[in-house]
């Protein structure tokens, strides 16, 4: 190797160090970071554009909302570990509770700061089945029948999967009236599960694209999206007689907005979710709005919905009893052997 080449290498190193030391310069506009979970991508893409327009008309400022998506628990952990989210919009209150408890990023009473338990929109758990419903799946009882393959993600790693699990539990509890029966029902259900994907999107793809399973337990919005994106002629949605009211909450991260001085715009961003425009966008993306929507009302069939607070005593309790290590979900699998 000749000296020329060494010089080149040294230059390259110098150049690369220079490259990294140029940190992204702050533009003169407002930037918000919304850390969210997986299925909300399409919703917030639309909503962010609408909000930017609204905010510019109101104040003259340009606001750019950056998005980060991933599994709800993972996203919460990133925020706890220092990802500077101005607002979080996650799948479960439990994940935001963890932020309040472990890193004191926001007060413990965060959920009472916005209307409707800080959930501007709701969803529920429904079934996605193959066209013509060959296995005749109409309600939860059909899901646990022998020979029905059920696709649902792993509740240990997926927020959506926890809602699925709790919905099945709620049905059995209401139907048979005691915990023992509910537990039996849920263990039979998981005996029918051939694959536990790590996230809700993974489970949808297993069901839709790999053609595995007879029924997919999914968020209502996710089921509609799959239907629209991947084939109305191949699947249909079945609504069970009873399901759970899934409340994906939103919150302002106080510590971050105070540091970045973005409290006003971040607050406006969340408030805008509750406005008629925001609600309309949520409904457009198949989230059940809090304000009755004219245009999209026919989309959402009436389901008998139970809430996590009335049946499970809130997320902290449900998490501990069912999903923590050694909880009922683990016992079901330990017993299956």
């Amino acid at each position: 190797m000749n000296p020329l080449k060494i010089r080149n290498i040294l230059l390259l190193i110098g150049f690369s160090i220079a490259l990294t030391s140029i940190s992204p310069a702050l533009a003169a506009e407002v930037k918000l970071l919304n850390v969210s979970y997986d299925p909300t991508r399409e919703l917030y893409q639309d909503f962010n554009t609408a909000f930017a327009k609204y905010w510019q008309a109101k104040t003259g400022d340009t606001v750019t909302v950056q998005q980060s998506h991933g599994g709800s628990g993972k996203q919460a952990r990133s925020v706890i570990d220092g990802l500077e989210a101005d607002v979080v919009t996650l799948a479960l209150a439990y994940d935001i509770d963890a932020m309040a408890e472990k890193a004191k990023l926001l007060p413990a009473n965060w959920q009472s700061r916005l209307p409707n338990n800080s959930t501007p929109y709701t969803s529920t758990i429904v079934f996605l089945v193959r066209k013509g419903n060959p296995k005749g799946i109409k309600d939860w009882e059909d899901v646990v029948k022998p020979g029905v393959a059920v696709i649902t993600p792993n509740p240990k790693t997926s927020g959506g999967a926890r809602w699925n699990y709790l919905a099945a539990w709620a049905f059995a509890l209401k139907k048979y009236g005691n915990e023992a029966k509910a537990r039996e029902f849920v263990s039979t259900l998981y005996k029918n599960v051939p694959i536990l994907d790590s996230g809700a999107r993974g489970a949808t793809i297993t069901f839709v694209q790999r053609g595995i399973g007879d029924v997919l337990l999914a968020w209502e919005n996710e089921a509609f999206l799959a239907l629209n994106e991947l084939g109305k002629d191949k699947f249909e949605i079945v609504t069970p007689s009873l399901s759970i009211l899934a409340e994906p909450p939103v919150a302002l991260v106080d510590k971050v907005v105070d540091k970045k001085k973005t409290r006003v715009v971040a607050q406006a961003y969340l408030d805008y979710l509750y406005s008629p425009e925001g609600q309309e966008i949520a409904a457009k993306h198949y989230y059940r709005p809090r304000l009755a929507s004219q245009k999209y009302a026919s989309r959402f069939p009436k389901i008998n919905l139970v809430t996590i607070n009335e049946l499970f005593g809130g997320w902290a309790k449900a998490q501990k009893a069912h999903f923590d290590d050694g909880g009922i979900f683990d016992q079901i699998y330990a017993g299956a052997r």
């Binding site: 190797m1 990294t20 999107r201």
Partner: protein
């Protein structure tokens, strides 16, 4: 002097069948998936500005990681292969360690170190230095993951070559640098290039560790592999495979470069 034609064919056949099953099938799936909606659509997919940002970030990162780990690799291989000292095997094992650490854990350790709840977190926050969930974090995690490649590639070659030539050079009055350039380097040239190529490819393709420290902010902290995951999660399977094909082409590109360099060297 060598095997019969028959034997050769059988050996080549087995090797190709194995590679076909393990390599070509998944690769074909990726390219097939990318072209499902035709070439025009594939071009459109990769021209997306967010994909562009991901490519740029990945290249920047590789531009830092590759030289640093290259220097380390040569230095480690030199000290290990040319000298005997106490604790050598432990040192070698430590160099291998990043291989064995699950990518998930590789990310996690840097979160434990630099994260807001981590050891250095409060200090970094007080000085307003953002490491994790920003570009430095991605670079550090990639440095860690690709750490052993060059050293690992060079050590067996240097060992196989022995010290005789270097010793002769030194005896004849060459200094350390001269010995390295004129005696060692020509011998390890190909191993070195292989090492750099592996290092580069792995740096660009690393997913697990980077995923933990990146924060996944669209257009800011997403490398190519993370962007692939995002597209996949948006039901854009075709787009995901298109962007994945970029990585495959990057790898094939560096390998073509290698072949060209080699031809040049032989002239």
């Amino acid at each position: 002097m060598t095997e019969s034609t028959w034997m050769r064919r059988v050996l080549i056949g087995i090797a190709l069948a194995f590679l076909g099953l393990v390599l070509i099938v998944p690769l074909g799936t990726v390219f097939g998936g990318a072209l499902e909606k035709g070439f025009a659509n594939a071009f459109h997919e990769v021209q997306d500005p967010i994909t562009g940002a991901a490519i740029l970030l990945t290249l920047k990162m590789a531009a830092v990681v590759v030289p640093l780990n290259l220097i380390f690799g040569i230095s480690a291989a030199w000290s290990i292969a040319k000298f005997d000292f106490f604790g050598k095997k432990i040192l070698m094992t430590l160099i291998d360690l990043p291989f064995t650490v699950s990518p998930v854990v590789s990310g996690l350790i840097f979160v434990l170190l630099f994260g807001a709840q981590g050891l250095l977190g409060p200090w970094l926050a007080a000085h307003d230095i953002q490491v994790i969930f920003a570009i430095p974090g991605i670079i550090i995690a990639t440095l860690f993951v690709t750490f052993p490649y060059v050293a690992r590639e060079l050590i067996p070659i240097m060992q196989a070559q022995g010290n005789d030539q270097e010793e002769a050079a030194v005896t004849m009055g060459a200094n350390g640098w001269q010995t390295f350039y004129h005696v060692t380097l020509p011998n390890i040239r190909w191993g070195l290039i292989y090492g750099v190529i592996l290092l580069n490819a792995r740096a660009m393709g690393e997913f697990g560790a980077v995923s933990v420290v990146s924060g996944h902010v669209r257009g800011l902290t997403n490398t190519i592999p993370l962007h692939v995951e995002i597209l996949y999660n948006e039901y854009n399977l075709v787009g995901a495979f298109c962007v994945a094909s970029i990585l495959a082409f990057l790898a094939i590109g560096t390998l073509i470069a290698k072949v060209l360099v080699k031809k040049q060297g032989e002239l």
